[in-house]
């Protein structure tokens, strides 16, 4: 576990500044929820963080998920650990996966409720199922920090909290862009509110209520 920090970071779109300058530090064991209206800069901040920190051990779950539709669910999850194996083992795994990998990934997929879909190509899944595959991939990846953009937006009530629980269990240190304030308060230790590309709120979640957060919107 390590510290992740941005100092006076900015993001530009053409000539206009869309984010920052802002500074933020994510300490070990801190799960940060980024909240704010759409267009406030949550996704921009996440991709900026990924840019700066990708040399460290970071897992990314973007809003578009980044799944390969032509590969099976199993292989999409396996891709989380392509860096742990030699190239020939990865290639061989495309043709015939190792028993050990299958068991491990099956267990992970069962936890998010899509174990029986493990040999289905991702292109044939629904939006909610795809989101759970991407969640399983980052869980399998086991990096130090998770950066996720609306990781449960396509899931309904109980399933959303279930997947959030798994993600936060696997990643004690994380930055998650969220629109569901209840989930943010329940699973994150710190809330960061964004407005027009600037941080307007930064507080531990136990000091906040979802009613108080409504002001941001």
């Amino acid at each position: 576990m390590s510290d992740f920090a941005l100092k006076d970071a900015e993001a530009h779109y053409g000539a206009t500044r869309v984010l920052g300058p802002l500074s933020i530090r994510i300490a070990a064991g801190e799960r940060v929820a980024l909240i704010g209206k759409s267009g406030a800069g949550k996704s921009t901040l996440l991709s900026l963080m990924f840019d700066r920190w990708q040399a460290q051990n970071v897992a990314l779950m973007p809003q578009a998920l980044g799944l390969v539709d032509t590969l099976s669910v199993f292989h999409n999850v396996y891709m989380g650990r392509l860096d742990r194996h030699r190239w020939w083992r990865n290639l061989a795994s495309l043709a015939k996966p190792w028993r050990r990998d299958i068991d491990e990934i099956k267990a992970l997929l069962d936890e998010v409720g899509i174990g029986e879909k493990r040999w289905t190509p991702c292109g044939e899944l629904s939006g909610g199922q795809r989101q759970r595959v991407a969640a399983a991939r980052v869980l399998y990846q086991q990096s130090d920090l998770l950066l996720a953009d609306e990781p449960v937006s396509a899931l309904d009530g109980p399933q959303a909290s279930h997947v959030m629980a798994k993600l936060t269990e696997g990643y004690p240190q994380a930055v998650l862009a969220m629109h569901d304030l209840e989930l943010a308060l329940a699973f994150c230790t710190r809330i960061v509110g964004l407005k027009d590309g600037a941080i307007v709120l930064d507080a531990p979640s136990e000091t906040l209520s979802s009613a108080a957060l409504q002001d941001l919107y």
Partner: protein
């Protein structure tokens, strides 16, 4: 009324074709051409399969050369595609694909002789250039996001295979399968320069006047191409690829001294070999250019323009036969059969046959080019027309064609015609080997006279004008703002 850009360009092309028609030699010189056509048709109706042994072997060799050539080409093409961002790889690929497989065969025949390696390389090299370009395009179109979310330290090869090739896989496979069909045609045609494939047996049967054997060979060839999708299965491909190299036959042994001599002496321009200096080289080149290259280029351009317009006209006339807006189930199926036969007959084979029937002139070449290319364009335009939804009270017949279909399809149609321009030019040049005075004729004559240095220069010139036409066609498509997805169907 001001003419629209597409109309202006169309009229320009037609006018140019008419001028070319007036300048070229388009006569039937055989004294009884229709009797031979009748004999051939009779041969097709009463094919003679009695030479099953040699027919079977011809078929087997045709398939084997196609598999090994296309397989090697696909492998090399993929490697080239992975470095396609480098300008010299792009240039190299453009160059090797600008030289027709028959020219490659002529080159290797002089060095390796009648050894299978000649036929294999003749297919593999130009195909590698085409595969490189198309594979690179397909890989470029993949979604870059999966690559971004991969663990950063994953190996390059693993990243490539999991995040890019896996996404592109269905497209890579379908394109490669399509090229395999092209490869079968190329392989068949290589027989005309001596490889043991169908073309060779066709030539022999014609020479002896065995029209029923010709009929049998043609029917078997259509059968081979028509059933492709049933016997070429992804799971069987590795088996085919492993077995094919052993079915190429042995041919004649390679004389390595010939190979070295060819590449170090024969193709060096004569003035250089004799050490006569640059002025003599220039003199040599100027002579070659004025007496052979220039007339060859002129005839090639002339024939290309006429064939291009003829193909286009034929395609516009024929696409309704497979369009659901003009046909019913049965007549549509019949239309499909006609177009399949037209487009699966290689131009070279068709030109050879027509030349035997009608005697030497540019006419057999134009008809062959128009039938083959017109068939392909009609097929693609017809398919496109099936995507159009008409309102329920749309007019019928010729009104439907003129008011509902043509205005919607003309843009895609022109784009397709321009895509085929370079291909028609490549083929036109090569038809010279059959005796029509295009560039191929001069290449072939130079080789007959054992002047390989001249042959090489003429082949290079042919490659350059192919590249030139390709660039021109791209410009025209840009000028007319034509975008069309089917740019990959090109053989």
């Amino acid at each position: 009324m001001a003419l629209r850009a597409t109309t202006r360009v169309t009229l320009g092309f037609i006018l140019l074709a008419l001028i070319c028609l007036a300048l070229g030699d388009f006569e039937i010189s055989a004294h009884d051409p229709w009797r031979s056509v009748g004999q051939l048709l009779l041969g097709l109706v009463q094919p003679d399969f009695s030479g099953v042994d040699s027919l079977g072997q011809a078929l087997l060799r045709t398939v084997a050369f196609a598999f090994v050539g296309v397989g090697l080409g696909a492998g090399a093409g993929m490697l080239l595609a992975l470095c396609f961002h480098r300008w010299w790889v792009r240039t190299f690929s453009a160059f090797i694909r600008a030289i027709h497989e028959l020219f490659w065969a002529l080159i290797f025949l002089q060095s390796f002789g009648l050894h299978p390696v000649t036929g294999v390389l003749a297919i593999a090299i130009p195909y590698a250039g085409i595969f490189a370009k198309v594979y690179a395009e397909i890989l470029d179109e993949t979604d870059p996001l999966p690559l971004d979310v991969l663990p950063r330290r994953a190996g390059r090869l693993s990243k490539l295979v999991y995040a890019r090739i896996s996404q592109a896989w269905p497209h890579l496979v379908s394109y490669t399968a399509y090229r395999l069909e092209c490869g079968l045609r190329s392989s068949a045609v290589l027989g005309f320069v001596g490889m043991p494939t169908i073309g060779y047996h066709l030539m022999a049967a014609f020479a002896q006047g065995h029209y029923s054997t010709v009929g049998a060979l043609l029917l078997l060839f259509y059968l081979l191409i028509g059933t492709l999708r049933w016997w070429v299965r992804p799971r069987l491909l590795p088996v085919y690829l492993l077995v094919a190299p052993f079915l190429l036959g042995t041919g004649l042994p390679i004389m390595w001294s010939n190979v070295t001599r060819f590449f170090t002496e024969d193709i060096v321009p004569t003035p250089l070999k004799r050490g006569e200096g640059l002025p003599a080289l220039w003199e040599w080149f100027a002579q070659l250019f004025m007496n052979q290259a220039l007339p060859g280029i002129l005839n090639t351009l002339l024939l290309t323009q006429v064939a291009l317009v003829a193909s286009g006209a034929l395609a516009l006339a024929l696409f309704p036969v497979i369009s659901r807006h003009f046909t019913h189930r049965a007549s549509g199926a019949a239309g499909h059969v006609v177009l399949v036969i037209m487009r699966s007959t290689p131009e070279y084979m068709l030109a050879f046959i027509l030349l035997q029937l009608w005697g030497p002139s540019m006419l057999p070449a134009v008809v062959a080019l128009a039938l083959h290319n017109g068939g392909i364009i009609a097929h693609l335009v017809g398919r496109r027309s099936n995507e159009i939804q008409l309102r329920q009270d749309a007019p019928h017949g010729i009104d439907r064609y003129a008011f509902e279909m043509l205005p919607r399809l003309y843009g895609p149609f022109l784009a397709l015609v321009f895509y085929r321009w370079e291909i028609i030019m490549r083929e036109t040049a090569i038809l010279g080997i059959l005796g029509i005075a295009t560039l191929g004729f001069y290449v072939d004559s130079a080789i007959q006279e054992i002047r390989f240095d001249r042959a090489m220069v003429l082949i290079l010139i042919t490659a350059l004008i192919n590249i030139g036409v390709d660039v021109l066609a791209r410009r025209l498509r840009g000028y007319l703002r034509l975008r069309h997805g089917v740019n990959r169907q090109q053989c």
